[in-house]
């Protein structure tokens, strides 16, 4: 693999992993928020 290939894999892994984790968190947060009353979500 060329140097550009290693760089590309690295950047895709970093940006992809963080984006995927953030998406999972937001989706799960949205789902769980519906199960608790608004007063339990004081950050709103």
């Amino acid at each position: 693999m060329s140097q550009a290939g290693y760089v590309a894999v690295g950047y895709v892994a970093v940006f992809g992993s963080i984006s995927g984790y953030a998406w999972w968190m937001l989706r799960r947060g949205r789902r769980l928020s519906r199960k608790v009353p608004p007063e339990a979500r004081r950050w709103l």
């Binding site: 690295g10 940006f15 963080i18 968190m25 947060g29 769980l32 199960k35 339990a40």
Partner: protein, 268 residues
């Protein structure tokens, strides 16, 4: 945006009823992180020049070093949350430790991965068992173990206590990782940017600093959301337990159906 803020805060509004872990502050922070990420991609991949010796492989530094710093921050949060929980025993510190451990595990994995990808074209190998790499791999294993330990069933206080003690043990690995390049002869390079006279300059230094700032802001955004998510998980778990207890009590209080003979044996 200010209108959105008012709608967010209004009790009973549509979005409020749906629910999420975001707030006005985290949305602004998220926008800043996205702009920073685009800038990092531009400077890291386009504007900065290749290194004279390492060539294009040096571009991995702009994501590897910020990942390592976020790893330190995550494990630092784990240590802080664990230590203060043992003193105060409040949910806040336990959830802070959890968020730090999970995000720390993510960035430890990214540090190891980008380091391996950087090592192959510069060292000729993906992996060597030198002190820096081995102690970082050990941290990854311990963080996974910590997260698995938290999944074990049990009383919340007992779970938080054993997690806190484990968290404090894990934090001991941080100085080992940081000073490993000074204490032992390693293939991994020593400190570059923490010196008073950094050995890189120009756009490379700027790209690296930009990566560190964007990484730190991303870490803060992730920590806030993970903390709120952990709070929601605790709430849902508590409510589920309460509902199960109420159902059991209602079942016990219910009178037996007419015609049923009580299961009481009378003496002949």
């Amino acid at each position: 945006m200010s209108q959105t803020a008012v709608v967010d805060g209004a009790p009973g509004s549509g979005e409020d009823a749906l629910g999420h872990t975001g707030s006005v502050a985290t949305r602004w922070l998220g926008v800043v992180v996205l702009i920073g990420a685009v800038a990092l991609l531009a400077f890291g991949l386009v504007f900065s020049d290749p290194d004279v010796i390492q060539g294009d492989a040096v571009r991995l530094m702009y994501v590897h070093v910020p990942s390592a710093i976020c790893m330190y921050l995550g494990v630092g949060a784990l240590g802080l949350g664990s230590a203060v929980w043992l003193k105060r025993q409040t949910e806040f510190w336990d959830l802070l430790a959890l968020a730090g451990a999970e995000i720390g595990a993510l960035f430890t994995a990214l540090t190891l991965l980008t380091g391996m990808l950087w090592g192959r074209p510069t060292w000729g190998v993906f992996w060597v068992w030198d002190a820096r790499l081995t102690s970082t791999a050990l941290l990854q294993v311990m963080l996974i173990g910590y997260l698995a330990l938290r999944k074990l069933p049990g009383d919340a206080t007992v779970r938080a206590r054993r997690a806190s003690i484990t968290g404090l043990v894990i934090v001991l690995d941080l100085p080992l990782i940081h000073y490993s390049v000074e204490w032992w002869r390693t293939l991994h390079q020593g400190a570059t940017i923490s010196r008073l006279d950094p050995q890189i300059d120009g756009l490379m230094l700027f790209s690296l600093m930009l990566g560190i700032v964007v990484g730190a802001l991303t870490f803060v955004w992730l920590m806030i959301h993970r903390f709120r998510l952990a709070h929601l998980e605790e709430q849902v778990e508590d409510r589920g337990l309460d509902a199960a207890l109420d159902a059991r009590r209602a079942e016990a209080d219910r009178p037996p159906p007419a015609g049923d003979t009580p299961l009481v044996r009378t003496s002949p």
